[in-house]
């Protein structure tokens, strides 16, 4: 276990107050954020600043939390999100006023600064199929309100919940859809194109809006506040490494909405890799030298070719991610066994408190992983440690539960006779209850192990690597093959872990 930890930890060096410490560049888990984060990283590298990437952190809470605690140094954010989601202020509509407000408040409250805006706004875009727009004469959101009762909406969970999302929109325009459902960004467009839903939320800079030939309805009542994109950085970065701030500011006012939409389209529609799109974008802006042609040609192969060849091509990378995934599972499971089995045995000696304790452990299971990671962020930051800790917590319940019920229900007649013949409580536990409960305990460990393989994909949300990385990135980019390149090995890994633990279970079963 110590060896395993040693193998994981070099990815997570202690935060040193060294000026040459790499600048940690992060992003949120959607295409444009990935792309902007990668552009920040490449530009810094081109100027000789060392960089570590933490792209695809699991949402605003985690990315911003990581920034506040110093686990990351910079990530792309939008002024409207800062205003509404982070500051919880009411919506305002003058872009300059919004930017001034968030710039002032973030500095005052969080010691975080907004670098000058990148030059484009990305706001929510309510979109319908062109055929729907034509047949129902839809141009604006007010038009939509008129016919909403006949239409079905499909929105991201995020949009369903935020004040500047569906609740506010429905109120502002009196839009009452026939029904709405929560959809992942990756399936939203396809659901709309195939007629599963009629209205979706997108981003104004989305590459997919054009690909699916959608009509964006005009926000004629100016409901959506402005979302100016900008780099959000720790003030500490400006103190420790003012050069990094200067480099990042080179991008300010350089990206207009047309350029951004075209870049997003290359990523989301043409399936070019983030790295090559970022590289050519920086070159086109004259910020770096011309991109290596052969390199971008290789990347431009896009999404053609079979899944098999895709997987074979990336086998080395997949093997590395799988190994890391397995290591995360093994270390957290070993720690969970080390705590949960003794705890289950101790509870057998304290049956009065057992059910409460086990129920409390079970409650941990009900905490959504993103919430748990966000909650632990101030104490544990991001990276491997919180991922291990979260997996450890999720693994406890099945092991404690099975250990306790295994020893509790072990052959009552044998337990009674052993006691009556002079075994102490400890001896009964060690020589009777524990061996008889071993298969039940092993079954609990097996359950925990298989669940952990699935849950370990959450590590991607906090930059801890593993097979979750291609799943999160693939979902963000609507790239099915990329998703499968994480999901298929993860499923195979679950089967392997289940098989190995099944053998261990059989070995632990006493002949009787």
């Amino acid at each position: 276990m110590i060896v395993a930890l040693g193998a994981l930890l070099p990815f997570d060096p202690a935060v040193a107050q060294d000026e040459r410490r790499p600048v940690v560049v992060a992003s949120k888990p959607f295409g444009e954020s990935f792309l902007l984060g990668e552009m920040f990283a490449q530009l810094l590298e081109a100027r000789g600043v060392a960089v570590r990437r933490r792209l695809g952190l699991g949402g605003t809470e985690i990315a911003f939390g990581a920034l506040r605690t110093g686990a990351i140094d910079v990530y792309p954010e939008y002024s409207g999100t800062g205003l509404l989601v982070i500051l919880s202020e009411p919506a305002r509509f003058d872009p300059h006023a919004v930017f001034d407000l968030v710039a002032r408040e973030f500095g005052r409250r969080f010691d975080v600064r907004w670098l000058p805006p990148l030059g484009f706004e990305n706001t929510f875009a309510i979109a319908v199929r062109r055929s729907t727009a034509d047949s129902l004469q839809l141009r604006t959101l007010s038009d939509l309100a008129r016919v909403a009762a006949r239409l079905r909406g499909g929105f991201t969970a995020d949009f369903h919940g935020r004040p500047d999302g569906l609740p506010g929109l429905a109120r502002a325009y009196d839009i009452r859809l026939r029904e709405t459902r929560s959809l992942l960004p990756a399936v939203k467009y396809q659901a709309l194109a195939e007629g599963g839903v009629d209205v979706i939320d997108g981003y104004s800079t989305d590459g997919l809006i054009r690909r699916y030939n959608l009509v964006v309805l005009r926000d004629d009542k100016s409901f959506f506040p402005p979302y100016e994109a900008a780099a959000l950085a720790r003030n500490a970065l400006a103190r420790d490494n003012p050069r990094a701030i200067a480099v990042l500011t080179e991008l300010s006012s350089r990206l207009d909405v047309e350029r951004m939409r075209a870049l997003n389209e290359r990523v989301e529609v043409a399936g070019e890799s983030i790295e090559s799109v970022a590289r050519s974008a920086l070159a086109d802006l004259g910020l770096t030298g011309a991109a290596d042609v052969s390199d971008s040609a290789a990347a431009r192969r896009g999404r053609d070719g079979s899944l098999t060849s895709y997987l074979v091509e990336r086998r080395g990378q997949i093997a590395r991610m799988a190994a890391r995934h397995l290591l995360l599972v093994a270390v957290s499971l070993a720690a969970a066994i080390a705590l949960a089995v003794p705890l289950g045995l101790a509870l057998e000696r304290l049956p009065r408190h057992a059910e409460q304790v086990i129920r409390a452990v079970g409650l941990l299971q009900t905490i959504p992983s993103i919430a748990l990671l966000a909650f632990m962020l101030p104490a544990l930051g991001i990276g491997v440690i919180p991922a291990l800790f979260a997996l450890f917590l999720y693994s406890l319940y099945p092991i404690v539960r099975n250990t306790y019920s295994g020893v509790r229900t072990a052959d009552p007649a044998a337990v009674a006779a052993a006691t009556a013949l002079g075994m102490t409580g400890r001896q009964v536990l060690r020589y009777v209850r524990l061996p008889l409960a071993a298969p039940v305990i092993m079954a609990g460990i097996r359950t925990a192990g298989v669940i952990a393989v699935g849950t370990a994909t959450l590590a991607a949300f906090i930059g801890a690597g593993g097979l979750g990385d291609p799943i999160v990135a693939g979902l963000a980019l609507s790239d099915t093959r990329m998703i499968l390149s994480g999901a298929l090995p993860a499923a195979a890994l679950a089967l392997v872990v289940d098989g190995v633990l099944a053998l261990a279970e059989r070995a632990a079963t006493p002949r009787r």
């Binding site: 052959d411 007649a413 044998a414 009674a416 006779a417 052993a418 006691t419 009556a420 013949l421 002079g422 075994m423 102490t424 001896q427 020589y431 009777v432 061996p435 008889l436 006493p510 002949r511 009787r512």
Partner: protein, 252 residues
């Protein structure tokens, strides 16, 4: 007076669980070397009384003595290792071999000769150690399992054995065989036995004296011939009639 004559004695013991009185001022004496049977229906308190002698149950009132010493002053675990115990269902450790089961008490007492003691006890209980010692309980018949339980109770040479419905779960023929084995055993060993049973005929066969219990009280405490001759209550008379009635036609 030298060593007390009673190996086991309960003196006006009362046991209550909440509002339910399970034993109500019960007194029983088991003289050294004898077998006393406690007979009664389920719920009469007979098993609770038995479990007081090895401190698995503590009385609320009254005292319990083993060889004249109040058990409240003895360590329960140490006490139990000196008293044999045979439960109804054998209670063998299912993951241990016959040999290891029979060695249990000598092993708990760190007795180096535990293997010989176990083999000796298995032979006494009617099982050939060479044939059976390596087997697991699941590979034995019910009667054989009960023989292992008897061997386990006797292996450390206790001078007291507590038996709680030891043959109750066996078929009539096997029960008869085991009763015979135990009678023969008692003839060879100097052992005091407290036997709990609901079967008056078993009591008649194995015990020197019978204590009839009903609802937590002693109904009658007498040798079997006296019990038959002078039942102390209609209940005892009815119990005798039910147990021995179908023998009557043959007898008369």
């Amino acid at each position: 007076m030298s060593a007390p004559a009673a190996a086991l004695a309960a003196d006006a013991v009362t046991k209550r669980y909440g509002d339910v009185t399970v034993l109500d001022r019960v007194s029983v004496v088991v003289p050294r070397g004898t077998c006393v049977a406690i007979v009664g229906e389920s719920g009469s308190g007979k098993t609770t009384l038995l479990r007081m002698f090895n401190r698995l149950v503590e009385p609320n009132e009254g005292s319990v003595q083993v060889h004249g010493r109040d058990v409240a002053a003895l360590d329960g675990v140490v006490l139990r290792r000196t008293i044999g115990y045979v439960p109804q269902d054998g209670g063998l450790l299912p993951h241990w071999s016959v040999q290891r089961n029979a060695e249990l008490v000598p092993w708990l007492k760190h007795d180096a000769s535990r293997a010989e003691l176990a083999r000796e006890a298995l032979a006494l209980a009617g099982l050939d150690p060479a044939r059976f010692s390596a087997r697991l309980p699941s590979e034995l018949s019910g009667g054989q399992r009960q023989r292992v339980a008897i061997a386990r109770a006797l292996a450390a040479h206790p001078d007291i054995v507590l038996m709680d419905e030891p043959f109750g779960a066996l078929d009539a023929i096997t029960r008869g065989e085991l009763q015979e084995t135990y009678v023969a055993l008692r003839a060879r060993l100097e052992v005091t036995t407290l036997l709990v049973t609901h079967d008056l005929r078993e009591a008649r066969r194995l015990a020197d004296r019978v204590v009839v219990m009903r609802a937590g009280r002693v109904e009658q405490d007498a040798a079997m011939p006296e019990l038959i001759a002078h039942p102390a209550s209609p209940y005892v008379a009815e119990l005798l009639r039910q147990a021995l009635d179908h023998e009557a036609p043959r007898a008369s």
